[in-house]
Structure formats: C-alpha cells, structure tokens
Amino acid sequence: MTKKMLAYIDHFHGKAQPSSWEGLGLAAEISKDLGGETVALVLGDSVNELANIAFHYGADQVLLADNPILKDFRPEPLADMIVQAAREYQPDLIIFPTTSRGRTLAGMVAVDLDSGVMVDVIALDWAGGEITATRPIYGGKLLAKLTCSTTPQIITLRTRAFDKPVPDPSRSGSVTTLDVGIDPAGVATSIASHEEKDGGVSLNDASVIVSGGRGVALNPALEPPGDLDEEAAEIWKAEQGFALVQGLADVLGAAVGASRAAVDAKYIEYDHQVGQTGKVVSPDLYFACGVSGAIQHLAGMRSSKVIVAINKDPDAPIFNFARFGLVGDMHTILPPLTEALREYLAG
C-alpha cells in the first residue's frame, strides 16, 4: 500500500517559515524510499503562491484551503482544518516544523486524531516502514528514541536538523482544494492587532549567530556618564558591549543571541536568549562573546556546527565546546575581528 506523507507548511501571512521546507523535504525523502506520496498542506488566506512553492520543494500534491477565516494564526480553526484534511486524505505520517505554531497545531490535532506527537525530532529512521524518532530531552543531556503506535504518526522537526531541499522551479503537481466549513461565530478568538519585532535577523533559523554574555558589561576601558547610578551604569556598559556584538552580526548577516545571565541582568530582551529556558539553535557558526558556557546556555547551542569562543577567562567551560578559542577581552577583539571579516567578505 502506498505510504502517504503529509507536511504542514507553517507561515505568517503567506511567508513560510524555512523549516517548513525541511519538513517537506523529509517527507519527499521518506516517500521516495518507501514508494509513497508527498503531500503539502497549505492553509491561509491568499496563499496560492505558497502552494506553487511547495511543488518546487518536493510536493506531489497540495491540499489547499484558501479562505479569509484562516488569515491570522488562530489555532482552533487551523487545527480543525488539519483534522479534516487528515480524515479525508488518511496520511501515515504528518510532519510539522517545531515553530511556535507548528508545535501548537501538532499537539491539538493529535488529540482529535487519537494519536500522539513526537516533538522536536532531530533524527528519523524509517527502515522497513517503521518510524523511530530521536529527540533530545533534559536540555539535550539525554537522547530518547520514540515510537508511535497509532496512525497517523505525528512529528515536529527541530529547525535546521534536516536539510532544506534545493527548490526545483520546474516542478508542479495537482492542487486539491479543501472545503472550508468553519462557522465564524464558532471561533472563540479574534486578532486585534500585531506588534512588529525589532526587525533583526531571527535566531530560529539563522545560519550564523553572535551571542553576548555577562562579559558584554565588563569593558574596563569604558567610563559611564557620571550621572548614572551603579545599575544604570552597568546597563550602559552592556549596551556598548552589545553594540560590538551587533556590529559583528551585521557584517555576517547574523542573528544576535544572549546568555541567560545577560538577559536576567536586563542587558538585552528575552527574545534573544539562547539556552534551556530560551531558544534552541543550531547554526553553522556560533560566536560566544563573553559567555562563560553555563550548562543552561550549552543546552541551547551545542549542536552548532562550529563554535568560536571569545573569553578572557582561559578556564571558561565554553572553551571545551569551541572549535576555536580566543583568550582575551571581547571588547578589544571584536572591533578588529569585525573589520577583518568586513574586508574578507567585501572580497
């Protein structure tokens, strides 16, 4: 019997989260191995273009619901549509990206479909058609292998753990339109407004990240303005330190991260925190500047491909996880490093 793989395409107002394509790529790979069919599920308002892109990334078929009621992220109607699609199409496996929305929707549809979710999967084995998922638990200190005894099996994929397929613009396929029978009066939520973010590169799918720790506030050469009290002076120093971090990030097109210590000290907003109680990231290149490498932080970034540690304490634990270590003050190293990289990248 043909195996059916359904990949949910997570997006915000028509702009896909890149990890959605990683899920679709994985679905296509499994289908190829097991002789199955790869189907993308696209739900939203004015999302026809997303359906086209889904073919480029490997979908054989797209299930599409394009309706104003699905415009904003409201979990209940979206989950209802996914459940409806799953009942009509009967997939063996449903793949979501582990985004904020993907995690929410996966959990909800598992309840309706009497199945379970394997969350934040970093490796998948489907030999002989039996799916076994591997996922980190306890902040990545342990790895668990999971199986799901019910159909459909549902997984969410950790961002950047699976390869993003190379899009093929010549690919196309058939679009199946889903009936949208949602009663607007029956939806208990409405979206009043959206609040823009600061516009920097998003940590979630960044290929390069530059992070700052407590060390950002420890530049001995800086003299804060005299009218600041001790706490305000520390924040002022931290802002100067993070400006250096940002400068390096800008040159590399990188996202800015931070340790919990830096966030708890109010040096930078929580949105930037990398670690067990922040974001879990796995970029190709990770700069840890003035970050000691507490176990909390390591939980969020140790799967990075290449880690560069810049710290004036040669005994800082971060050096044990770094491919390259620079013992020294980040405040004196970051400016020439930023300049050298700018020159190199300018060719």
């Binding site: 979990p75 909800m108 598992a110 969350v119 306890y138 208990a188 390259f324």
Partner: protein, 266 residues
Amino acid sequence: MRKEGNSVKIIVCVKQVPDTAATMTVDNGAISWGDAPLIINPWDEFAVEAALKLATEQGGEVIALCLGKEGETEAIKHALAMGADSAVMVSDPALKGADNVAASKVLAAAIQKIGDTDLVLFGQQSVDTDTGLLPVQTARLLKWPSLTLVSKFESVNPEDGKIRVLRSMEEAGQVVDSALPAVVSVTKDYGDPRYPSFMGIRKASKAEFPTWSLADLGIDTPASSISWPDVAETVQKEIVTEIIEGETPDQKAKSLVEKLIAEKVL
C-alpha cells in the same frame, strides 16, 4: 459560591523536575539525576507569578495543580510558598509511562472536577521532556481556546467572559481577544517570578492538599500512543579546540578569520 465582580478563579499547572544544572545519567534504561535537587519547573514560576498577580489585582483564587508520581510535591510546595491559595495533586500508579495526550486527559478531568474555572495557566513547557504540548492538548480536550506563549495580560474580564493577551510568534507579537474560560501558557517575558517569603515557605511546609487518583477523577487509565524504547546519554562529539594565538587583538582577529575561511564556514 457565586464569584464577586471580576474576581478570577485560576488553576495553575505545575510540575516537579530535576534542577537544570543536574548531571543526567542512564543506567539500564533508567534515567537518574543523582542527588541533584528537585525543583518546580522553571517555566512554571512565570505562570504562578502571572496567576498571583491577576488574583491580587482583581480578587480571586489561585489553585496549584500537579500531575506526578506520589511524593513529587516540590512544585506544589513552591507554588504555595509563592502565594497560591490551595493545591491539588493528581497521582496514580496506572499513569506510569503516560504520554502527553494521556496526561492532558487526566489534567482536563482534574480541571473539570475543581470546576468553575476562568483561566488555566501553564508554563510554556517543562525542562525535562520539553514538549510544550500539555497546554494545548488540555485546552483541546476541554474545548477551550489555547493562548500559547503569552507575555502580557492586557485585560481579564470574567464577568463578560473575555480576555485580551499578547502572544509571541517568530515574526511578530499578536494581540488576541478570546472567550473565557481559556488555557494560557506563559513565557519568561511575562516578568520575574517572586521569591517565596519566609512566611510563605513556612505555610507551604504545613499545607495539606488532596491527592486524587484516576478513580477520584472518575476516569479509566487513558491510552498512550508514544513510547520510549531507548534513552541514552548524549555523546558529545569530539571537539579539538584550537586556541588562536597572537601578540595583539588585531593579530588574533586576522588569524581567526584565516582559520574560519579554511574551515569553510564563512
């Protein structure tokens, strides 16, 4: 008892976990954290803080609810010490190996047994299994709206049955109007949780709370789909750390750039 005005009845779900700094080991398939302390799931502290603040601002009560093995009371005690009015523990040997859907069925039944609730708060996930599924699955079972990753309560109005919150997504924040009752997961962005006071700790140490079994909840053992045939310690990939030498910061910076070029990561 009929509630007064806009007072809120809030259930906050908490979980006991090993300290995040614990060294985790696996021996014959059994997970161990050695003699590391057991704590309230750090994410749950933000939910407890939010519940206490709402109940203080507009009157009401906060009930801590914990699903766990017998004796796993650290999270409940911490919530009580922070200021929760009462607590309920749910524990049953039949729940060994329960997956998230099964656990959320038990929580939903407990929430219904407590009854007459306006809001159920959760931390955004737990630091042990890190699934973040319980808030949305519990909400789905109760047929209440799921409001996940909330950093701000703009207004909570039980009289009109309405709530407005700020949710966070990758691309933007979202101001959501929703009906009550609702299930909310609270992020760290909400604000720092209070430390338990000395009096609070004393009160919590003497507090008595019921432990409900599945029979008390009137439900059968819920089925689980997910099993964990294998758990192992993460093997750290072999890293050879190369310390970049140089007389001056400038030399070190140039040398690092050369190494990064050679490593093909630029």
